[in-house]
Symmetry: C2
Subunit: 451 residues, 2 copies
């Protein structure tokens, strides 16, 4: 009997998150105060974030961090997600590779984002916060946060990238259904938004602009904390439930991945599936390859510069040492809104420097081709972001076919694409195009790096 | 530890469907040839349907019908679906009732429909058919069939009710992504469609009009079979995997339902969850209540007439003995497109006559109120159809609160509502309204019943 789907029993669900920082030989750099260039403490960070998240952000000591019992209870309501062997996709590709995917698309709100939204809101609630705010790119994070805020009785305000509000109108409706207020970014409701629009009235927004606005709201509203859906260490930490489950599920399947693949925007779904496996590379010398798939029109991993940069467009965040395209980088209007971000997160940036993982950049049309094939074979329409992971996996599977080798490939299906149907329609109608970015364009944004 | 989610191991998945016809004391009536009024044989039905489905349709002997191994394999790819205890909803209602739901929304394509789409396409393929066609209301069935057809390498053409094409544009895009052709019904591409539009050029379509068009296409196209997503006995038969799983999962939860609740359009999701439990009423005298929730603007169960009627608007189908509002009934423009159907299916009609189940009708606003509360508590946005089941469950839960009794309620969450976000938006904005239908209107359609 061909087994396709592997599910964990509740007793086997993770009770701790894995903090890769503790095991890294070269630690990731610390966030700096832009004025003084001094490293920030958890107390400093907690002006913006929940204190517990701020502590986790800087924790380079503890490899395992307890998941609060209350959060474990919420996780149990939907986890584990299935690990699935993609037999039909393998057949369509006629590849000897074994392809597995972790299906985070069946989570509440349709993506992995809920895994961090729940603990972030839990900590806010514990610490007496009444309001949370955030940015959202494609809207997956905003939707997850809207629900998690409702679970813990918090008010929630979301700045959604203006472009994706237009591309994916249903996402704002989802957030409103959960009682959140949603504003398109750049907006005229914050100083950061006004400044951006004054410089460029046609600015379609990016995660960088929306982060600025949300941070401004958080710092000017009493009892309000900012929450982030990716990029930061504590977000990837929460997402390690994905990889920790996948490890046990791969064991059930009797295999171990040769390559672990995920799409890459800020790094949370990548870190979530990759870090638990990567610890075996670091601690036991395993040779698993880790591949982060980014849009070739927003190529910070493959063509960015390693530097201290702001995490947002307006320069409200601490300085972070990371691969960046410059915080003023304006990504093309691709449909993978969750990948339209200029920087890479400090852990992943250090891992790339250390040769522990690699980036690969993929053109938009190839991602939709991959997503459509995946839908037709596996019956799940993937999010445009996840299509990047699928496209990278297909490249590897075809390489196996060419070489006649049977590798075990594991990718993270970070979310479904049901809210993104117009983008599939454009693709099928032949209306989508590839975007590229020239070295010169990239260079022009890098001149703005903070000194 | 509060357990919320119950999942079956693969070895515990059903290997047979349950055919309630065999156990019914009063058998459901047979389909008649409209011209001769003679009962139709499986051979007769197989001009339209796959032969194996035609046999199942008329089988009043075998209580258990083997699920083909190839279909079991496909089922294993996504089943079992979780049985979930809705603790958060219970808390919000402050009810002593225990509320469980079977979550069919995590299936491929987002609803229970795939459970019958797979075997129907499998049988078609086995019998040498190359093309399938169908109607679809909300589009859940059309989407499922498009994927199942792709799995078995069949061409697929779908007639989608015109109203829901406008209300839920993403659904057509989903079907097209799977390679199906989709046409709005009534269309000008069939004689039935033309006739309907000639009589009423503004006709917004219904399941009845779309069925006529699909049957016409099937009977005028070589090697093409018609498939149906509900109403018929063999469709409910395939859906009994829902209830058979739920039975074992309720056992895991240590409970047995006092009331089993589902929304009702043609009856497939209702029959799917209800029939396996109902057999204990029939065979062992259990007293479980079965509640089918229909829109109060399309109230065939609560206000229809028991009569022989056509299953479609144009009168292409056999005559079926059922509760009906008349095959010409034009349902109001409610958002629960899957419930806009005039007739009840012969098994359910007989069960109502025998007092084994009851219908309840619910106004549109109450369904969206229920759906929004469910989303905010359980994190899943339910399909407008499923909102009817939730609303009926909430009524029962509040009754428990009033009476101070703790009943065990089980409902079927037939699908998610992500494609229906504009309807939630209308609801939240206060733009939705209730529709009703007067006795006089109902009477006017019943004068057209076939003599």
């Amino acid at each position: 009997m061909k087994q396709k789907k592997f599910i964990l029993e509740e007793k086997d669900l993770p009770t701790q998150w894995y903090n890769i920082q503790a095991d890294m030989v070269h630690k990731p750099g610390l966030p700096l105060n832009p004025a003084t260039r001094q490293p920030l403490s958890a107390e400093d960070l907690s002006h913006i974030f929940a204190y517990e998240c701020s502590k986790q952000e800087l924790d380079q000591e503890h490899a395992w961090i307890d998941i609060p019992e209350e959060v474990q209870e919420k996780y149990r309501f939907y986890r584990s997600t299935p690990l699935v062997r993609a037999y039909e996709l393998e057949k369509a590709l006629d590849t000897p590779a074994h392809i597995y995917f972790k299906n985070e698309s069946v989570n509440p709100l349709g993506s992995h984002k809920i895994n961090s939204a729940l603990p972030q809101c839990y900590y806010c609630k514990q610490e007496g916060t009444t309001n949370v705010t955030t940015e959202t790119g494609a809207g997956q994070w905003g939707a997850a946060l809207s629900y998690a805020a409702k679970v813990y009785g918090l008010e929630c305000a979301v700045y959604q990238v203006k472009l994706t509000m237009q591309q994916k109108p249903y996402r704002s409706l989802i957030m409103r259904t959960f009682g959140a207020s949603v504003e398109g970014s750049p907006s005229m409701s914050t100083r950061a938004g006004k400044d951006i629009l004054t410089k460029d009235p046609t600015h379609s927004g990016s995660l960088g602009t929306a982060i600025s606005e949300a941070i401004e709201l958080a710092t000017t509203t009493p009892n309000c904390k900012y929450t982030l859906g990716s990029v930061l260490n504590h977000v990837s930490l929460h997402q390690t439930v994905i990889g920790l489950e996948a490890e046990k599920q791969m064991e059930m399947a009797g295999e171990y991945p040769d390559k672990v693949i995920a799409c890459f925007g800020g790094g949370s779904n990548f870190g979530g599936i990759a870090f638990p496996f990567m610890r075996h590379n670091i601690l036991e010398g395993r040779k698993t390859e880790f591949i982060a798939a980014e849009p070739n029109s927003c190529p910070k991993l493959t063509r960015g510069t390693f530097a201290y940069d702001f995490g947002d467009e307006a320069g409200y965040t601490p300085l972070l040492p990371m691969f960046t395209l410059g915080h003023g980088f304006k990504p093309s209007n691709i449909h993978a809104g969750g990948l339209r971000y200029h920087g890479a997160g400090v852990i992943v940036s250090q891992l790339i420097k250390d040769g522990l993982m690699q980036g690969v950049d993929i053109p938009q049309l190839e991602t939709f081709e991959a997503g459509t094939l995946f839908a037709r074979t596996e019956g799940i329409i993937p999010a445009p972001e996840s299509c990047h992971a699928i496209a990278a996996t297909i490249r590897e599977a075809l390489k196996c076919k060419e070489e006649g080798t049977s590798k075990v490939l594991l990718f993270n299906l970070s979310g479904h694409g049901l809210i993104d149907m117009p983008s599939y329609d454009s693709f099928i109608s032949g209306d989508l195009c590839n975007y590229t970015v020239t070295d010169q364009e990239i260079q022009s944004y890098l001149t703005d790096l903070p000194k």
